[in-house]
Symmetry: D3
């Protein structure tokens, strides 16, 4: 029934490649099937102005898509002189989600920027960005410990995200683009590996969704997220 | 326990004033306690380029805050030359929510813009905007019927929104600013008067939230939304 | 002869409501007939860079119109990323006019921003903004005295503004939109309650105007402005 | 008493050079003493969108200053990505003033843009722009007649502008920069060679000004403008 | 002597991977050592406005760097709202160079956009972009033939680019970042596989360079470019 | 054979007028035939942020064209809110070229901005800007010595630029607009009066160019530049 032939509760093949590029303190290529996102974590001294004098660090995110990461070419946002509303919405979500992974007070006078750049898109770029971005973030924090910038990593918990939705009246896990563009309901769920919710964003694209559908989707999301936490951990356990 | 002395399941006083300004096809002042938003609905012929040739109308929303609607003055976005990320996120949410109220195919070759301008802010401006915006939208559609632009109103259902959250470990309804700025979790729930969900956005500001807290918040939201649907209907039933 | 039935030397009903919103140091709703403008005065420490080290404070103004304050919807300037030329021209006029009301040296190291936001437009928004803005400014200065930021109010004089024009060959006072859009000549006059001119801006929209017409318009403006000074004073005398 | 040693009613040496650059349909260098402005008039087919279908042409103006036309270097507006408020205000004034010179209905489906670029500034750049711009406009209209684009020039009258002010309590004509930066009152007067007013903009920079000062300034302006009309005519009478 | 241990006339290892991403009509990953650039070619119907009515197609290029493709993070141009001067300069060079490869008249009413996005930078990103971009372009033209959009590929010749420079008084081929940042002279040479020059851009970063140095650099460039043409051809000969 | 009747190795009449405007520390009008550019040099204390703490000064350039300096009117870049790609490319070239003329360490904590504004264009505006800009720069440095800001001028050498190209198969010197718009190859050459190259930018507009054509163009450029160095010196030797 699903265009890809997957079972309703089956995520795509997910692959996490650490140290994908050489300059960043953390650099990850994450693949959710044909969706491919480069996530880098950059450590910089100092915090944004609104945090000056507070005793906490900061984590923020920026998101972009290569113009031809998609089926038809999108305008390059740099050339247009403006990030679109969707971009802004997504990068704010990534930033909020990843801040939940870290004890910002223990981070001290540092800022970390997570750049998530989509090189190929097939649905689920924001959830891939959060999931891969958290691995890049963990790497960057470990790099800071090795460099003597921090005594211990302030990582409190891992964070991951997955999409669920209602496609042809069936709740399904990890929508790809053909499903996403036709789903009646689309929901992104961000959780911690301790089982708490960080962010739940459910949207009816067509008809409203019911409490039952909501519960079924949340249950699928939990299942998928547990798989993601395992994959993140396996990646981090690899010798570099 | 709540700074305002309200019960956990008690919303603020909510007031809907129709025909608040004279030019718009629908014009509503909505007040959630000290939060005051002017919502106008403007009808224009034609649809945006991406809908040309499809047989459907369009509904979109724009959101703004007067610079001194808040405790300390914000920059005027027009003067900065850019809408902030929060503004963009909110106006996209309002637009999506209100499109769910209308049969866009029956709207025909028309666009309706809902402008939500906050003249005084005390928390919950986006939920007030959706709730008031839907009344302005209903009025505009009725105006179109009176003008002969439409044979019947394409309104399918009313849509309203309310915030819920976890404040000092207790789930509460309709957060005001003092609560919102300290809540551990904040969730905006948009429903239809037929009982379906349109949008659920829950965010952990501090610690993650649990399934139990989630369920308690949704239950509070349902209660509050039922009150809002009653108020919307009462307002629409008033002779103009 | 006038579309509204008013006498040539008759202004519209003018109403000044103080403390209209709760956050600002001064907040006024001013109504010139159907023209309604919210004027807030915000006090902030420090002065703009070009005044650093001088011993004077600063007063500036920003102006905006809600998109549907007018008969057909205007673009939202924040969304366009740019304030229009008319907006810039008007806010510079408001700022210059209100600076004339205050002894800037006595204001010290403070800046006051007057935000004038039109919620309903029917002609004369700039003159309403100046007239209402001066009341908000007076309130803000009094608030500063109460707060101990200033020993005495540095207000030197009240400032008000009104439009005059030549409509169907007759000089008239306080043009509303139907008149304004057809007037041959339009003039805005800003004076102090001591009888001096602060700004006179007369523009021939069609044919040039003569010295006689000019003198007649100035005479009408003086009459109207005297009424405005009385209304400002009455408003300020009200217990808050 | 005046820094330049001029009499109160004495304008600076004014020089008008036609055909200053070779590409434009009208091209004038105008000098008011050390103030030097290049005014070009460009004819293009078609009218702006808001005039489509009306039967009238359009005249507009743009204004700029070379970055080092002034005593200390100004930012280049193109590099900043924004025209400043003063620039916008001035170019709107030039456009309004020059439209008064022409029968727009007789201009037909053409637009004329007057570019006024200040290459050296010493006060009075906007009045020089209007005065020189009207000569460039007259030339462009004559070029159109020669080219067969128009049967007769739709020029109704010449327009010129001069500044007057109160400097050290004395009304003076044609302020240069040292006067302009200290004047209590500054007024720009735009008239037609038939004796009517097009625009009067008087501004109190310090204390308010009185009716007597106003009348004295207007009288000086009339005198200066008569000289300008003579100079414009002499320039236009020169063989090219 | 070279930081990398290479001979003066030795280029880095160069690798061309076709079909790197799945959506674009041509998609290439090109690696010059640690410099990695994704080049995609997008075919769209129609031509830019300035070519409407001419009988020729168009080829243009856009260039970007991921923010952390470099040793320290650069601002994201989309977030700044502006492409930097270096970006603009590079993408204009890429576009001019690739237009030389194609018979634009034979391309007909199509535009091709070459997007060059640097995912890791180590010097020579513009020469890698041109060299890889030409392969993506060739692929896109072949795709058009397969799709029936063109009868035959309008590719006239292959184009490639390489940098040369003077490093510690010695002319060297294909500078990497450590060399580039210290070179006295840097020159980019774009040629066709038929042996003609398309673009030569030599810049003295420190002292001026002599005719002899110039000739030595050009000779090195010819050698390096011959190797590149062989690599391009080998890549294009691979079965897809 | 050349549209102007010039010999292939004949530059246009070149004229350098110093002290063209009165405010700048250096101000030159340079004319290459009908191409006329005002070059001013402005001295300011301090250096850009990226040089803070280094012990060197800075020289930068900005370039602009009056909208009607050309045959048909160009958009005013300030009004568009953006400098075009060509403008950015040219001003970067001017800045790089003129920095080569000066010992930046000896310049100390000062920045010099060279503004090059084209008032009439007929080809070769960038080479005229560099050639005239260097004279303005030399004047500004001498002004600094006179003012006591520097003990000695840090000018190391004069810099000039000229264009060469291949027009109807013949290498020609100093292309004017009719030639430039048809030339197969266009090359700008920047040299020092000591005989070294600063920048060479050759571009094939149509077919590729050969080594022989390249050599012939460079030889023409040397001849033309020797004439320019003589003219620069003669201008600087004039009593002011």
């Amino acid at each position: 029934m699903r265009p890809s032939g997957r079972q309703p509760d089956q995520a795509r093949d997910i692959k996490i490649t650490r140290n994908y590029t050489k300059h960043a303190e953390g650099s990850v290529l994450i693949e959710f099937g044909d969706t491919k996102v480069i996530c880098t974590a950059t450590v910089e001294s100092g915090v944004p102005r609104f945090l000056k004098g507070s005793d906490q660090g900061w984590i923020t995110a920026e998101y972009g898509m290569l113009p031809r990461s998609t089926g038809s070419r999108m305008h390059r946002e740099a050339a247009r002189g403006k990030q679109g509303g969707r971009t802004v919405e997504i990068q704010r979500l990534i930033g909020r989600s990843l801040r939940a992974a870290v004890d910002l007070n223990a981070l001290g006078d540092f800022s970390i920027t997570i750049d998530c750049d989509v090189i190929q898109a097939d649905g689920g770029t924001r959830t891939a960005s959060i999931t891969g971005g958290c691995v890049a973030l963990a790497d960057a924090l470990n790099t800071m410990v090795k460099n003597g910038q921090l005594k211990a990593s302030p990582l409190k918990q891992m964070v991951a995200a997955i999409s669920v939705g209602v496609f042809e009246d069936t709740p399904v896990l990890d929508l790809d683009y053909p499903e996403d563009s036709q789903a009646e309901t689309d929901m992104n769920v961000v959780m911690t590996d301790k089982g708490g919710f960080i962010e739940v964003q459910g949207t009816a694209e067509g008809d409203a969704f019911s409490q039952e559908q909501f519960d079924a989707m949340l249950s699928l999301a939990r299942k998928g997220l547990n798989e993601l936490f395992t994959l993140q951990q396996a990646a981090l356990n690899d010798a570099e």
